[in-house]
């Protein structure tokens, strides 16, 4: 006899909604995070077929071991000078972030985003890429600009939207654009830069150029269609591009499980596309350097794209607009099993006898002084909120190459409105 309720002998369906291990008030331990020993991951030839290297998408490329030695086949064998430059740029980035975060808290600008704990991801990549390779960053790769020597004062001018802001106050703070430094205009819409980077790389290949592209997104936004479209294009045309996923565990308040981390790694996304995939200890500057160098060589020799997951941890909030203690355990940043990228590289330099605490302290001081001086110089050009820094009618510039009648008309409306208003802030 047919049941009134079909399949009544089965338990009801349940919906799985991911939940992070720790919430505010919980002690965080991360024992569930597998950390393979440094040096264990094999290093295939950069021209190898992706098919034979899928295990690299599930393991973790690590160079610095627990005793701060550089070990294994991925050791990039950088000179002490190169290591010190790498360290200095990471320290500079952290000092810059601290200073600008504080400036936002002091009301000098509207918004800021730090890269604390993730400094190695952008800085080591910039050191491994060629200076003329084109970077398509997300909003947390200011380390690329710092490592390429972009003036700190120009970054700050942008953050303050002041008279010297090269973007004329048109962009949210930190959404830099620096074409001369191979740094594409940052979008606030997530991962739109992924297919754009692939397109740039395809153009470079179509033109017989030698430059490659590199692109970054967070693990959260790998869920965007743009990411998957980009992977398809990159795979189909074997585009010379290094595609980076910064898995810092958190997308604002959503843990990586909402992007699929409970089921697989982000590097494993590469496997379905037939792309080389690497999963890398993102807090190990030497591992990031080595992986980027390998991927860049691959791209530059027509062996196609590489997808690199940088396994790291966002040690602070998403931006100045959120409080991470509201959604995650306060103990997470210190419990993170892969340590701090600056502390680890510093310890390595000391271990090999090329650095010491005194020199580090002196460098900290000198860099802090540089950053302070840059800030002082930038603030001479004004800070956000202290009057208008750009001519009012510049609001209409750059919508099109040539301004059409309707914008000219609206510009006049605005100027008439300002003339009539007598508003104290409206100075031209």
């Amino acid at each position: 006899m047919a049941s009134e309720h079909p399949r009544a002998n089965l338990p009801p369906l349940t919906l799985h909604v991911p939940e992070p291990r720790f919430r505010p008030g919980d002690a965080a331990d991360f024992v569930a995070v597998e950390v393979p020993p440094a040096g264990a991951a094999p290093r295939p030839d950069s021209a190898a077929e992706p098919r034979g290297m899928s295990e690299l998408a599930y393991s973790l490329v690590r160079v610095l071991d627990d005793d701060n030695r550089a070990v294994g086949p991925w050791d990039p064998r950088l000179s002490p000078d190169a290591l010190r430059r790498l360290l200095a740029d990471m320290v500079r980035l952290r000092a810059f972030d601290e200073r600008m975060f504080r400036a936002q808290r002091q009301g000098k600008t509207s918004f800021y985003m730090k890269a604390t704990g993730e400094e190695a991801v952008a800085v080591a990549a910039a050191h491994a890429l060629d200076r003329d390779d084109m970077c398509f960053p997300s909003y947390r790769q200011q380390g690329l600009l710092i490592a390429r020597g972009y003036p700190l004062v120009d970054m700050m001018n942008q953050i303050y939207s002041n008279t010297a802001d090269k973007l004329g106050g048109k962009q949210l703070p930190i959404m830099y654009s620096a074409k001369d430094f191979g740094f594409f205009s940052i979008s606030g819409n997530l991962t739109t830069q992924y297919p754009q980077a692939v397109g740039w790389a395809m153009a470079s290949a179509a033109k017989g150029d030698t430059r490659i592209a590199a692109v970054w997104c967070g693990e959260g936004s790998t869920a965007e269609g743009d990411f998957h479209s980009a992977c398809t294009f990159a795979s189909v045309y074997r585009a010379p591009v290094v595609m980076n996923i910064v898995n810092n565990q958190w997308a604002i308040s959503s843990f990586s499980g909402f992007a699929g981390a409970e089921a697989t790694t982000f590097a494993a996304r590469a496997i379905g596309y037939g792309i080389a995939g690497l999963r890398v200890d993102g807090n190990d500057a030497l591992a990031v350097y080595a992986a980027t160098q390998w991927a860049a060589e691959r791209a530059r020799t027509n062996c196609g794209p590489t997808l690199i997951e940088h396994f790291t941890y966002r040690a602070e909030g998403h931006s100045t607009s959120d409080d991470p203690t509201q959604y995650r355990s306060a103990g997470e940043p210190t419990a993170w099993p892969l340590g701090d990228p600056i502390a680890r590289l510093k310890a390595h330099l000391i271990q090999i006898g090329e650095w010491d605490e005194d020199r580090h302290a002196a460098q900290d001081k000198a860099i802090a002084e540089d950053v302070r001086a840059a800030q002082k110089a930038a603030e001479k050009n004004g800070i956000l909120g202290h009057g208008l820094h750009q001519p009012l009618d510049s609001l209409f510039d750059g919508v099109f190459e040539e301004m059409p009648w309707h914008l000219r008309e609206q510009r006049q409306m605005m100027l008439d409105e300002e003339a009539a208003s007598g508003r104290p802030w409206a100075r031209k």
Partner: protein, 357 residues
């Protein structure tokens, strides 16, 4: 015809001059535009679904791959986000991509790349990066395409700052406007009224179709010329009322006006953004009446913007309320296509109304 020819370059071969013009349908004219520009500028590339070896589902890119090679004319994966995103990146590199979206109905996955990226790149980077891309896409109904091969989405894009929207109504204009669009340094959405690819469809779907062979707009220069963006064209001068239209509706309006025996002035807008407001204003102030015709859905359509502009600028010259003749606010139906289409009867009724008031 021919007033907008800014630069006719006659091609020569074997010492004999090729004819300066020849008969083309709109597909051939669009194909010729890409051919001419690709021959002049090695940075122009064509990409899209089925555009390469096959030459496009409407044949608009036929022969281009064999002539210019696979790195300049290539098929793409079926992902509109990718097609537009990749084109933007190529533009940032310095190329001048001409991506095709196979049907305008398929453009929506690419909306973010068009609206938030292509249209904003110049502004947000203070001119460091631009997106000199021309997105070609067949649009509009009348081909029994059902709701996913018939839409007119121009109003979505005219609402976005930073992107130009161009719609030709003849082969001559299609070629000249497309060359101008490709050579333009801003992103352009080039919507092709696919119902008139083969002939100037006049709205009488139950009568034999005409082709372009007898229409003056089917006489097309073989070489390089441009029809500047932002210039409307008076296709019929008249005194009784002004009809603002574009694309397929230009021809439907011409016939409807002739059948009604009304001395209408028909203005083919050709470019919606930037709009030729001077031509509109001059015509409406002269005639004192204005009818707006488009195939797209009515509410929030580009006709609403036109109506507002005419009211703002010509109110004291108007002798009757502005009339809008449009598609309905429904999906484009398959079997009831001709009930949806703003055809001769709907236009005739509106003409009667506006002339009575």
């Amino acid at each position: 015809m021919g007033a907008q020819v800014s630069d006719i370059v006659t091609e020569t071969g074997n010492g004999t001059e090729a004819p300066a013009t020849t008969r083309m349908n709109m597909i051939q004219a669009i194909n010729s535009a890409m051919d001419v520009v690709m021959a002049r500028d090695p940075d122009v590339i064509v990409m899209g679904e089925d555009v390469g070896y096959f030459g496009g589902v409407f044949r608009a890119t036929a022969g281009l791959q064999s002539k210019y090679g696979k790195t300049r004319v290539f098929d793409t994966p079926i992902t509109e986000i990718g097609i537009i995103g990749v084109a933007i990146g190529m533009g940032a590199y310095g190329l001048r991509p001409v991506p095709e979206i196979q049907f305008a109905d398929y453009i929506y996955p690419a909306l973010d790349q068009l609206v938030s990226e292509a249209a904003r790149l110049r502004y947000r980077s203070a001119g460091e990066f631009t997106a000199p891309i021309t997105v070609r896409s067949p649009y509009g109904g009348g081909i029994f395409g059902g709701q996913t091969h018939s839409q007119s989405p121009e109003g979505i894009f005219t609402h976005v700052s930073g992107i130009k929207t161009v719609i030709p109504a003849t082969p001559y204009d299609a070629k000249g406007l497309l060359i101008a669009a490709i050579e333009d340094n801003d992103p352009v959405l080039f919507l092709e009224p696919k119902r008139i690819y083969n002939g100037p469809f006049n709205g009488h779907w139950d009568k034999p179709a005409e082709n372009w062979s007898k229409h003056p707009g089917g006489e097309v220069p073989t070489g390089h010329y441009t029809v500047p963006l932002g210039q409307a064209k008076v296709v019929r001068a008249g005194e009784a009322l002004t009809v603002l239209c574009y694309g397929t509706m230009v021809h439907v309006c011409e016939r409807a006006v002739a059948e009604a025996g009304v001395d209408a002035e028909i203005v083919d807008l050709r470019t919606l953004i930037p709009l030729d407001i001077d031509a509109i204003e001059a015509s409406v102030k002269k005639t004192g009446r204005c009818m707006i015709v488009h195939e797209a859905t009515r509410t929030g359509g580009f006709g609403a913007e036109l109506s507002a502009l005419v009211q703002e600028r010509c109110f004291y010259h108007l002798e009757a309320p502005i009339e809008r003749v449009t598609g309905f606010d429904t999906p484009y139906p398959h079997s009831l296509e001709w009930a949806y289409f703003p055809g001769p009867v709907r236009i005739a009724q509106a003409l009667k109304k506006i002339m009575k008031d």
